[in-house]
């Protein structure tokens, strides 16, 4: 690691987005986004295709004109400034290196624009390459580098100008799985060491969870939930977030209230909601979301012991490794469950789901996620 870069951590800038509306032609893409990025934070914008996450990043960087709203960087509204005046460095999915330039020229270009001398550029680029684990690569053509090396050079090019804000537009999507894992840790480590404010767009849930200290889940141009990875994963705010974060099993349920407590009924089974975070849920028809690895298969007449044990029938079985994956027909739905024991097709089973692991939402809202 290069001493100069390591010993002088820069402080990232704060970004404050207020009432951001963006449209392509007549189509509204962002519907009034409000979001704060604290200095030195690593935020991942996560969502399915077309949710507006890339548009949000591109409007931060200035490549998409803002219809209304403000983007405050260090208290100054940059929404009307061109990209070159915003002081944010971006890393692109396609690396976007200039094929007619060497590694030195690519990384040094931002410094050249800032009037640095050739000697200064050479020194800083050498330090940056050392920092990125590519020492001595200055005179290489970027077309002669591997994907991982290219993305490191692209990262170096962005970091060379000492930005307060680093924007990452799916920078790992074009890399193979092994390099992607390494780069996740490298980018996160660099961001923390330099204290940059990083905004990372991805559709890869695991990538977002492992890299970011805060997730922003987007849905149809709006923010569905903001929180730490644990909050978003364990306490999804909406049916969409629950579904997007991997709780893909959907069980129609009914909540009944009696006195102080509440109970849950599904497919002939029932359980008390006392110990569940959803205990305050209003009575009525609802939908419960849960992950494949939450439920277990049990005997159809096994004691509930506080869990919801829904009777079901095994419809299909696969072995992806380690555990068996079953498709169980229960409460009129097909539920996917992982279980360590082997069961035969057609067996009647009890689908055991711990009530506190269910994410329960009103039936009307669940229609959005289905």
């Amino acid at each position: 690691m290069q001493a100069g870069l390591q010993d002088n951590p820069r402080s990232g800038a704060a970004i404050s987005v207020r009432g951001l509306h963006v449209a392509y032609g007549g189509t509204r893409v962002l519907h009034g986004v409000d979001l704060d990025f604290t200095p030195g934070s690593f935020t991942a914008l996560l969502g399915s295709s077309g949710c507006g996450k890339t548009t949000l990043l591109r409007s931060l960087s200035g490549f998409v004109p803002v219809q209304s709203g403000s983007i405050l960087v260090g208290g100054r509204d940059v929404a009307s400034l061109p990209p070159e005046k915003r002081g944010m460095a971006m890393v692109f999915q396609s690396y976007a290196l200039w094929p007619h330039m060497t590694v030195l020229q690519n990384i040094g270009y931002g410094l050249k624009l800032r009037g640095a001398s050739s000697a200064e550029i050479a020194t800083k680029v050498a330090a940056m390459l050392e920092f990125l684990g590519l020492p001595g690569y200055e005179s290489r053509k970027v077309t002669a580098l591997s994907g991982g090396q290219r993305q490191r050079v692209a990262l170096g090019r962005a970091l060379a100008i000492d930005p307060g804000i680093l924007l990452l537009d799916e920078p790992l999507s074009n890399l193979d799985a092994k390099i992607r894992m390494t780069m996740r840790h490298e980018i996160r480590a660099i961001q923390q060491r330099l204290g940059l404010t990083a905004v990372h767009v991805t559709h890869d849930r695991e990538e977002a969870m492992t890299m970011a200290d805060r997730l922003v889940i987007m849905q149809a141009g709006r923010i569905a939930q903001v929180g730490t990875p644990e909050e978003v994963y364990d306490r999804p705010a909406t049916a969409f977030v629950a579904n997007f974060m991997g709780a893909e099993n959907v069980l129609p349920v009914r909540v009944e209230r009696s006195g102080q407590g509440a109970s849950l009924h599904a497919g002939g089974a029932s359980a008390s909601l006392a110990a569940s975070p959803s205990a305050a849920f209003p009575a009525g028809e609802a939908v419960a979301y849960f992950r494949d690895d939450v439920a277990r298969l049990d005997a159809v007449d096994a004691p509930a012991s506080g869990d919801l044990v829904v009777p079901g029938l095994i419809a299909a079985r696969a072995y992806p490794g380690g555990v068996y994956r079953y498709r169980v027909e229960a409460a009129g739905r097909e539920i996917t469950v992982d279980d360590a024991t082997r069961h035969e097709l057609g067996t009647k089973v009890g689908l055991r789901i711990p009530v506190q692991r269910l994410h329960i939402f009103p039936a009307t809202e669940a229609g959005i996620a289905a």
Partner: protein, 277 residues
């Protein structure tokens, strides 16, 4: 039965015959005639005569065509750059709709338009006078070398801009955005990041324009006076006034060598690039 190979030859025979009869035969014939006396003996006297009478025009032709190429390149880069990096949809839309029009206008019509536009009392000067920008007495004619260059640039810019804009549209847009993101203005992005990536296309378009401009007869004949003038006019004059095919053919060979020079420069650059990449 014909073999596949014979069948292929039969199929391309009509085309081959046309090329041979209408292109190769006249080319070889004029090449031979440039180097032979009427009695068939070898001579360089037609080249000596061409050099003696028209050396000034040879230089004039090269200067005119090179200057036109440079100005065409500049205009095409501005247009293609605006089309690629322009942010005002109104300007980009208007430019896109208008810039190709000269492509569909023949050189002779373009020359005629320029005659009425650039003359001493032509449209351009009249406009300046009526706007109060110029005194009527100070109006001068541009129907000389400047008129030829203006016509060539006006006529060839759309062609070069068309190829250039196509090439610019095919490069990774993120490479241009990366430049702006790091702080480069649109002009710098165009000149330092976009243009080097499409340089081969620009060179092809300019070499083709160079050869086209070299072979145009109507523009120098109609726009400019008689002296100095371009080689095409001299060739036409040798044939029409004197029936002097030999000298005209010698001038033709010289024209061919000039255009071959442009092609060689282009090919050499292409080979150098391949060697370094």
């Amino acid at each position: 039965m014909l073999s596949q190979r014979q069948l292929a030859l039969v199929l391309i025979a009509p085309g081959l015959f046309l090329v041979a009869a209408l292109f190769l035969y006249p080319l070889v014939f004029s090449l031979i005639s440039a180097f032979t006396r009427p009695d068939g003996s070898f001579t360089l006297e037609w080249f000596a005569k061409a050099y003696e009478l028209y050396s000034g025009d040879i230089v004039f032709t090269i200067v005119i065509v090179l200057a036109s190429c440079v100005l065409t390149a500049v205009a095409a880069i501005v247009i293609a750059g605006t089309l690629t990096l322009g942010e005002n949809p109104w300007i980009v839309g208007t430019l896109k709709a208008l810039y190709r029009w000269p492509l569909f206008i023949p050189f002779i019509v373009a020359a005629q338009c320029m005659r009425t536009f650039l003359a001493k009392n032509g449209l351009m000067n009249n406009t300046f006078v009526s706007l109060g920008l110029m005194e009527p007495l100070s109006a001068i004619s541009f129907l000389d070398w400047r008129g030829i260059i203006a016509t060539f640039v006006w006529k060839q810019t759309p062609f070069v801009a068309l190829l250039l804009a196509g090439a610019l549209a095919s490069i990774d847009r993120a490479t241009l955005e990366a430049g702006r993101n790091l702080g480069a203005s649109r002009a710098r992005v165009m000149l330092e990041l976009a243009l080097p990536q499409v340089m081969p296309t620009l060179l092809v378009a300019l070499v083709l324009s160079f050869v086209t401009m070299l072979s145009v007869l109507s523009v120098p004949m109609m726009v400019a006076g008689s002296q100095p003038t371009m080689l095409t006019v001299d060739m036409a004059f040798r044939i029409n006034a004197y029936g002097d095919y030999a000298t005209a053919n010698a001038l033709g060979v010289i024209t061919y060598l000039i255009s071959a020079g442009a092609a060689i420069i282009y090919l050499k650059r292409g080979m150098n690039q391949e060697a370094t990449s």
